[in-house]
């Protein structure tokens, strides 16, 4: 990693923390930044003179903070897994959605919404709110498993077959999801739509705690694959000739990305474009070395999703816009701009 890339990463860490702190105060109910600071310092015991307003503190710690933390976690997970999947497929236009992970997760979630009262009553009582998240997670894992098995050739995963299988799974899941929305009642349809467009509105300390380990593991592990993914960009054969264990790399990168995306979709629905756009922006800023791109995408992903969430809850407050709408509205023009620029 060169000096410029290190500097970019440090700047990203600082701006990410600042964005998070500022966004804690913003929403349908605004909390002045001064109050945010005093409540935070109170909480960690830095200042003894508790000046923070109790109502502010309640909103801050019960509602705002889990939401901002969830946004950061999900953004970081989507950013880093997008970069990792692009590396493993050697395709700068791919993202976890491409191999069907997101579609599989959403299909299972939609199935649960549509058939909850009919089939999953027992499970629903047992798992409560987690049923939906659990379903999405199972869907992501199952799709990744099926796609991985289909793509195996002589016992080794073949990347082209994996992409094609992903496209097929995407089409199937899309069709089945469409069918479900057709059969759903109005109330279910509203839930499905909101969920398909993504939202951090369901953030609580409980579900934050539930997904934390599933997202933390990929966030900590994936940056170690930087060297291997750089070697992958020379082609799988050359990567093997450079001493990289290519099967091990493919297996674990896909698994960690599934874990990250599955857990994210499970709590926040489908949030598009982060996995695609963030790694691109990071590359434009400081180069293509994966040792920098992976960590950079994690930090920028966290920051951008936090910002998008602020917009989603302030633009037409007190009504909330689905965050997927915001990321797509912001992401599409930027993405098209990059495409046109690269084409020239």
């Amino acid at each position: 990693m060169v000096l410029k890339q290190r500097i970019i990463l440090v700047v990203l860490v600082i701006t990410m923390v600042l964005t998070a702190i500022i966004s804690l105060g913003l929403g349908a109910f605004n909390i002045p930044t001064k109050e945010v600071f005093s409540a935070l310092t109170d909480k960690i015991g830095l200042s003894q003179n508790a000046t923070a307003d109790e109502m502010y503190a309640d909103v801050l710690f019960a509602i705002r903070m889990p939401r901002v933390l969830l946004g950061m976690l999900v953004g970081a997970a989507l950013g880093i897994s997008g970069a990792a999947i692009q590396g493993i497929f050697r395709n700068p236009l791919s993202e976890p959605g491409l191999i069907g992970i997101s579609a599989g997760a959403s299909l299972f979630a939609v199935l649960i919404i549509a058939f909850e009262t009919l089939l999953f009553v027992g499970l629903s009582e047992l798992l409560g709110y987690y049923l939906l998240a659990f379903g999405a997670f199972v869907g992501a894992g199952l799709t990744a498993f099926v796609v991985y098995q289909i793509s195996k050739k002589n016992g080794r995963p073949n990347i082209t077959t994996m992409l094609l299988a992903g496209i097929a799974i995407n089409a199937l899941a899309g069709a089945l999801t469409g069918l479900m929305t057709y059969m759903a009642t109005e109330q279910q349809l509203r839930t499905i739509t909101f969920w398909m467009l993504g939202s951090l509105g369901g953030a609580t300390w409980e579900n934050l705690r539930a997904i934390f380990p599933f997202i933390l593991l990929p966030l900590v592990s994936l940056p170690f694959f930087g060297k291997a993914l750089n070697a992958f960009s020379l082609g799988e054969e050359q990567a093997a000739l450079l001493g990289i264990n290519t099967d091990y790399t493919k297996r674990w990168v896909v698994l960690f990305s599934t874990l990250a995306v599955g857990a994210s979709v499970a709590v926040s629905g489908i949030i598009g474009f982060i996995g695609l756009l963030v790694p691109h922006t990071i590359r434009l800023l400081g180069g293509v070395d994966y040792k920098y791109v992976l960590t950079g995408s994690m930090l920028l992903g966290a920051m951008i999703l936090t910002l998008a969430d602020v917009l989603s809850r302030t633009l037409v407050a007190p009504i909330e816009l689905p965050i997927g709408v915001i990321t797509a509205l912001l992401g599409t023009p930027v993405f098209l701009y990059i495409l046109i620029k690269e084409n020239k």
Binding site: M1, R90, N91, P92, K227, N230, A231, S233, L234, G235, E237, Q238, A240, L241, L242, G243, I244, N245, R283, G287, V288, D289
Partner: protein, 288 residues
């Protein structure tokens, strides 16, 4: 020493390589020659580990190559391929340092950077070390790849260097330069196996020439032993005459012009009369 014994490779019932045995000794440049589809690249890919042989053995210093640990093997064996599928905007320096990957854990040492500088200078790419690889010409890209492959083996005098048509995209100067680098490395102990299409270059730079035909080893010997008009006709179906160069005492091949009779095409279609060819209303004329 690289030793290949009774190596065969079969794909979908078709035997691409049949019972090939050969050796490459330390300090030797061996050129692989043969027509298209003779099995040269398949042999190279078997040695590089990309393909698994249907039968036979490949050993490096008396140990089967699949018994080596990935990283150990990568420190002593490298291959320059014909095609490079890079679509990310790596700089030249970033690419060349990848050659040092088997030698360091997380970041390159001072020694690694020194080797990268040296190989970039030797391959004539040091001047554009910070340029993006994708913006270079085909020949320049090939030299960057060579620098990467050389930096992988630079400090290992027992290394095996596999070159698959390394000079096909290069100008005359760099064709000579690349092969002289390979030869000079062999004199330091490297084993070099190189696929070439230019027989005169093979004659000039190789210590030994192996010719393949239809997946079998046909000939194996010094350039003076194997390069004669009869053998060249057997392998390539091309007529030639040979003379020995006074300076290098190596055979030099002169090819005879290949002549194809117009009747060879045997087309039943009537040609368009020349004066009508460029007329815009040609289709109407033909329809008439």
């Amino acid at each position: 020493m690289l030793r290949i014994e009774e190596l065969s490779y079969e794909i979908k019932g078709h035997r691409v390589l049949k019972d090939v045995s050969l050796q490459v000794r330390k300090g030797e440049v061996v050129a692989l020659l043969g027509a298209n589809g003779a099995g040269k690249s398949t042999l190279m890919r078997l040695i590089s580990g990309e393909l698994k042989p249907s039968s036979g053995n490949i050993t490096l210093f008396d140990k089967r190559i699949d018994k080596y640990e990935n990283r150990t093997l990568a420190q002593g064996r490298a291959m320059l391929s014909q095609q490079h599928a890079i679509n990310m905007a790596y700089t030249v320096k970033e690419l060349v340092v990848m050659g040092r990957y088997p030698h360091f854990q997380s970041s390159p040492s001072v020694k690694d950077w020194k080797i990268v500088q040296e190989t970039m200078a030797i391959c004539g790419v040091a001047d554009f070390a910070d340029r993006v690889y994708l913006s270079l010409s085909g020949g320049e890209q090939q030299r960057v790849q060579l620098a990467r492959v050389l930096s992988q083996l630079w400090d290992n005098p027992d290394a095996l260097l596999l070159l698959d048509e390394p000079i096909s995209a290069l100008d005359l100067h760099y064709q000579q330069k690349v092969l002289s680098i390979a030869k000079s490395l062999s004199r330091q102990g490297f084993m070099v196996l190189v696929i070439l299409h230019d027989i005169n270059m093979a004659s000039l730079y190789a210590d030994r020439i192996i010719m393949l035909k239809n997946g079998r080893k046909w000939l194996d010997g010094t350039p003076n032993e194997v390069l004669n008009d009869k053998n060249i006709y057997t392998i390539f179906s091309v007529e030639s005459s040979i003379s020995v160069d006074n300076h290098s005492l190596k055979p030099h091949i002169f090819f005879k012009e290949m002549h194809i009779e117009p009747s060879f095409f045997n087309s039943s279609l009537q040609p368009v009369p020349a004066e009508d060819f460029w007329r815009t209303d040609r289709t109407q004329i033909q329809e008439k």
